[in-house]
Structure formats: structure tokens, C-alpha cells
Amino acid sequence: MSDQEDLGADVYRQEASELVQSIEAGLMALETDPDDRDRINAVFRDLHTVKGSGAMFGFHELAMFVHEFETAFDRLRQGKVAITTALIELSLQACDQILCLLDDPKAGAAASVDILHRLQRCLDGSDKGEDGEHTPAGNAAEGCRVTFRLSEDALMRGHDPEGFLDELRELGPTKVRALVDRIPPIDQLDPTACLIGWDVEIEGAVTSSDIEAVFLFTRDDMTLEIAPLSDTPSAAKADDNQGLDAVATSPAPGVGKATGNTMRVATDRLDDMMDRVGELVIAEARLQALAQCSGDATLMAVAEDIQRLAAGLRDSTMSIRMVPMSSILGRFQRLIRDLSATLGKQMRFRTRGEDTELDKTVIELLADPLVHILRNCADHGLETSEARLAAGKPTVGTIELSAEYAGAEVVITIRDDGRGLDAGKIRARAIEAGLMAQDADLSESDLYRMIFEPGFSTMSTVTELSGRGVGMDVVKRTIASLRGQIDLESEPGHGTTVRLRLPLTLAIIDGLLIEVGGELYTIPLAAVEECVELPESHVSEHSNSSFLNIRGGLVPFLRLRALFDVTVQPTEYQKVVIISSTGARVGLVVDNIIGNNQTVIKQLSPLHAGLKSFSGATILGDGTVALILDVAQLVATGRMIEDRARRENAA
């Protein structure tokens, strides 16, 4: 195979796997709403595309398989067969088989045959009893009347009304009449709009499916009426598609529009671009600093222009890398469905905020932790139907995943309405694993946090499903490596909520520049809650209290001067920056707050990887390096202070 063919095959593989995802999503939606004709048609179209392009790129085994699958599905489309759970199940298996064939066209021929065979049997079983061959739309002898209008922008999209008419003519002798009632006076006429409708009388034995096949690819964006020829047009049977009028005026979302103007770009090119934008932002900051120094008005004007352009370029580069949550949610639908079957529990998966976008890298790294959390919800969280019934809850358990923007972060919430976390069990397990002392008195939320500790999850506590060797500690670490935070709430008997807070992007963040002993550091702005003056009573480094009173709440604080071994005299008015992570707060005493800055994150080398207080470094406008404070770590240190104080109080 030549390189070019290889390239084509790769593109096809990618496209096909996306289509299969779309098919899966469609199938699962059909399971809940079997009468959704639009969906059936959409699935059919996707299958058709998989088949067509597959044959084009030499995936013949795949094309053959999909062809058979499509044939079977066609009976669904014609409404001859009802949709059953078993059928959906088989169709999903067929989707898996498509993916297998994509990877290795030669493999699994036997499985293909088996699936098709079962699919056939399943279809025969649930046949509505109509004769499989043809369902004439009207009296076969008389033919039928087809009235159709394309959407106004049909011509712009390259549809050819003439072509449709030609195809209709092939079905039998036709009489075509144009419907010109919607055409406005000539001075208001938009010549590119398709305003003419057609009324076609076809004689002879024509079935409605023959006619629908003609309009297969435009079906969502048009009105189509098919009536027996004997009926008068006014009594024409409306198409079985409900809500068609609405569809006719506004094209179906996602179809046509979204696929029109996109192109595929290799991810490493995007990464490369992001790197360059990062460097540009740094260079721009230097230019800005120079311009400020020189005081030259012309230079400052140019610097401002460059700043504006760089900011715009940064935003658009980041937006290119943004991927909606929906790109991974399909996988989860499937996961929950499979889990439901394996665990024998009834459950429902609801999603909200599928449009929420995150950086591609974040989304990719997020998939595994989310799978793990969902598995835990399904396996440990939800009860069996009987137990639910006994507890007075609906038999079907619900797992809800929602995503929403919160400032420069995205909050992803996974909520189940199961039994909630068992504090007693967690306690026992934590003591057993040596994570806490036998008599330690931990608050409930501290206790819940134990499940994120390494060593908490063992093979004895997780089932075959949840235990793939990944504990919640790995989830927490992955989230932390994305500079995100994980948070847990649980109400016994009412369910558990896991909340993930993630930065929109990994490469550039907004930072708060602070000064400690003449040295500059950056704090991720998303973690900063507020800045206050250090109260007089706390100014001395020898004052015993290690807590601040922030509007009634006690917040532990850290003196960065002490933490960073600064010997220079402090400034007169020290400030406190309150940062928060996973619901806990800590105050950082700093000498000065400089202001916001764009922080391009640079990883620290292995020589400095052991440092706990810093998560990375950045380059400032004057070319010097500033360290980025590790919020999660500092908050953990603050919590230690809190624990120590509590112990001292107790003693």
C-alpha cells in the first residue's frame, strides 16, 4: 500500500470510529424513544457513510458487514420491525464488531457472521407481521402523489432539485408541477434561495420507501408528503414524521451545518502552535516591559497593538484546542448500559452541559478517571432494585454527569442517588490500611477524603468491575496532574456527589504575581479567593496564633517568608492571599501583591521535581523566571497546621 493510501485509510479509520460513536449514541437514544424517526434516519445515514467510504478505502470486509447490518436496519427504518432492547443490544455489538474490523479487517469473520445471523433472527422474531417485501404507499395500481419542498438554502448546499426529479422519474411515469406560491415579487426575490416546491404524480407500483430513498440525504431539512394518487392533495396523509413543519423551517441541529466547514488537523500541530503562542506571549510581555521603560510613545503604541494581537491569537489558538464534553460522553452512555447489564441493577445515565468545552488534552486525560468514578457509582453507590424499593426510592437508579463553566474553570459533577458513602466502613478500612490511628477523631469530610489515599482501595474491597488496579488515589493524582481538584460529598441513603474542578487549559493560566523578600512568585488566579491585609496582631513572626479570622471563619495561614527561608526584612504592610482547594482554605502571607499576569506554564526539570511547594515555573516580562506555587500542596500544609492545632486543643 502506498503512503497516500495509508493516509486515506487512517483518516477513514478516524472518521468511521466517530461515526460508530454517533451510531451508538443514536441507538441508545432509540432505546428510550423508539418512535424517533429522525434518529432512525440519522443512524441509517451514518451506517451508509461507513459502508460507502469503507469500500472506497479498501475495507471490503467491513463494507460487507455494514451492508448486511444496514439491510437489517432498513427494515427498522421502514417501520416494519419494532425496536426492542434485544435488537439494540445486538446493534451495539455490531458497532463493536465494526470497530474490530476497522483495526484488523481480517479478524473476526466468524463473529461477523454470528452477529448478523442473530440480528436477522431477532428481526424476524419481532417482525410486525407485515409482509417483508413492500408496503405500497397508496394503491399500487394508481401510484402516488409526492409533494416536496427543499430547505431554502438547499442550492447553497449543493443539492440539485433537478436530480431529485430525475430520480423520481425513474420510478415510473410522472407528471411534475411546480408550486410557486412562496415565490415573492421579483424585487424581493433572493435568486439563491430554493423557494419552489414540486408536486409529482408518479404512476405505477411505487412504495413510500422508494420515494424516501430518493431524499435520503436531505430528509431532515425538507418537507415531504406522500399520498396515494387517488386522494386529493388536501387530504394527503401527512408524513409519519411528527413535528415535521418545525423541522422544515429550521434545519435539524448538527446535521449539515456542523459538518460543513470543519477540517481535521493533527494534534501535534496544534501542540506546536500552542507552544509558539506561549513563547509569543512571553516575548510580548518583554516588549511591553521595554516599551514602558523607554517611554517612547510610538513604541508603546506598537507594543499595545502586539499585546492585543497576541491576546487574540492566544484565545483563538486555545479555542481551536477546545473539545466539547459530548465527545467522551457517548462512551459513558455505553459504559453505564453495559454496567447495568453486568451488575443486574437498573440504572439511568443523565448528562447535562454536553456543550461545555475543555482543552483536548484535559478531555483525553479525563476520560479514564471519569470511567473509574462512574464505575464506582454504579458498583458501590447504587443499590439493587429490591434494596431501592425497600428504601422507598424509585427502582431505577440515576447517575447524573453535568459539566458547567465556573470562571476559568470547568466543574464536572457526578451524582448518584444511591446509598451514599458508609462512614463506618471507610473508617474501618482506613484503620486496617494504617491510614489513620485507631482512636483518631476525624470529621466526616476528612473521613470521606480517605478513599483518595493510596492504599485505601485494595483487591478485597473492589469487585472485578471497579478494580482494574486503579484506586481513587490514581483518580486524584490524574486530576491533580491536570491542576484540577476533586471534592466529595455524600448523604447517607441519598447518594454521593463527586465534584471535579478543572482548568480550561493546561498551557497558559491567569496568575497573581506576588513578592516575598524581593522575589516574585505566581499563584494560579483561579485558586485565589481574596486578598486581605495581615492584621496587626499577627505581624510579629513570633505570635502564637496560626489562624486568621476571615469574616468569622478560622483560616490557617503560612508565612511564605519562613517557608522560603527569606532573610530580608519584611515590608511594613504584609498582605494575606487566601487560596482554596478542595473546599479547604489557607492564607499565604506575602510582602506585596504585584497584580495579574499571563502565566505560560513551564514544567520543572527532574532535578526540581521533588519540590513540594511549586508546580512549575514561568517566564516574566523582564525575562526572569518565577516559580508557580502549588496550591493543593500549600492547602494540605495548612490542613496539617489545623490538625495539629486541633490535637493540641484536645490534649
Binding site: 496532574s481 513551564k602 526539570s605 527532574p606 532535578l607 521533588g610 511549586f614
Partner: protein, 170 residues
């Protein structure tokens, strides 16, 4: 990766080295791991770090750790003067190539070193930790120390990093 290989096995009779002054000694570093030589730039102190790698510098938009070989050899530290230079090197560390910078009191020249003239490290009478020295040569009546950079950086890299990375890779 070429550079990595060359440090590992000095098979060729003649290698290019850059000679520099460090704490009163002449040292030679293989020239092919040298990326560039800089006049001293602003150094950002890294709190809580070891004296060996206590700073960060900006090398053309890349954040590079600045290390001090004097710490490894137990030499007294001196203040930078007009001759002080920073050498940016690409070194192998735990299977990866890491860019680091070292300070030198003075950089002399790039020269060819005949490996066959190198003496083995004497087991007694050496002021430096023997595992940090690859060999001792002679150049114009002066001793020339070939430090084992790989061993030095391995020693001063925080323990357990490699293991942690493997874990996270899973």
C-alpha cells in the same frame, strides 16, 4: 542521543572537550553535550531546593535549572566575577535527555583531548569523590579533571522520581 552515547563510552582516541576553571581546578567536559555558553543571567532562587541545584535561569524561553558542580566536589563557593560563565548542557538523566546549566569560574577553550593520555582515577590521595571523576588527563603541564556528569546528576536528582514517572505513565 548521540551525545549520550559519547559520554558513556569514550572509544575514540581523540574527543573534543571544552576546558574550564572550577574552584582552582581545570576540568574538561565533552563538547558534544555542550549547547551554549552564556554570560551570567538573572538567576531565580528556588527555595527548599538543594545547594547543588538552587536556581533557575531562562535560556531562550526555556526554564533551565542552574547547578553548581562545586557543591558536588566540595569546593568552596565564590562570588561571580567578570570571567564567570554559565554552560548549558544536554545530559542523560534516568533515560531522558535533560537540559541543565552549570556555572564555571572561567571557560578556557575547546580543544582535542587524547583519551589514551588519560590516567585512571587513583584510589588514594584524591580530594574528590572517586565516583564523580571519569579520568585525569594532562594538558600543558596542568592536570585536567574529567568529571562524570552523569553520575553527579544522578546522585543529586531527587530519589524516587523515576519510579513515580513510571507509575504515572500507567
Amino acid at each position: 542521543m548521540n551525545a549520550v552515547h559519547q559520554i558513556d563510552v569514550i572509544t575514540d582516541q581523540h574527543i573534543d572537550v571544552v576546558t574550564l576553571r572550577l574552584g582552582g581546578e581545570w576540568m574538561a567536559l565533552p563538547a558534544d553535550c555542550l549547547r551554549e555558553i552564556l554570560e551570567p543571567v538573572a538567576v531565580t532562587r528556588v527555595p527548599q531546593s538543594t545547594p547543588f541545584s538552587s536556581g533557575l535561569i531562562n535560556v531562550r524561553g526555556v526554564v533551565v535549572p542552574l547547578t553548581d558542580l562545586k557543591v558536588a566536589f566540595g569546593m568552596p563557593r565564590t562570588d561571580p566575577d567578570a570571567d564567570t560563565r554559565m554552560l548549558v548542557l544536554d545530559l542523560p538523566l534516568n533515560g531522558e535527555t535533560v537540559t541543565v546549566a552549570i556555572t564555571a569560574d572561567k571557560v578556557h577553550e575547546v580543544t582535542v583531548l587524547d583519551v589514551s593520555t588519560l590516567d585512571d582515577v587513583p584510589s588514594v590521595g584524591l580530594r574528590w569523590p572517586p565516583e564523580f571523576v571519569r579520568g585525569i588527563g594532562k594538558q600543558e603541564d596542568e592536570f585536567l579533571l574529567l568529571p562524570n556528569l552523569e553520575a553527579i546528576f544522578q546522585q543529586f536528582c531527587p530519589k524516587g522520581i523515576a519510579a513515580k514517572q513510571i507509575e504515572e505513565g500507567n
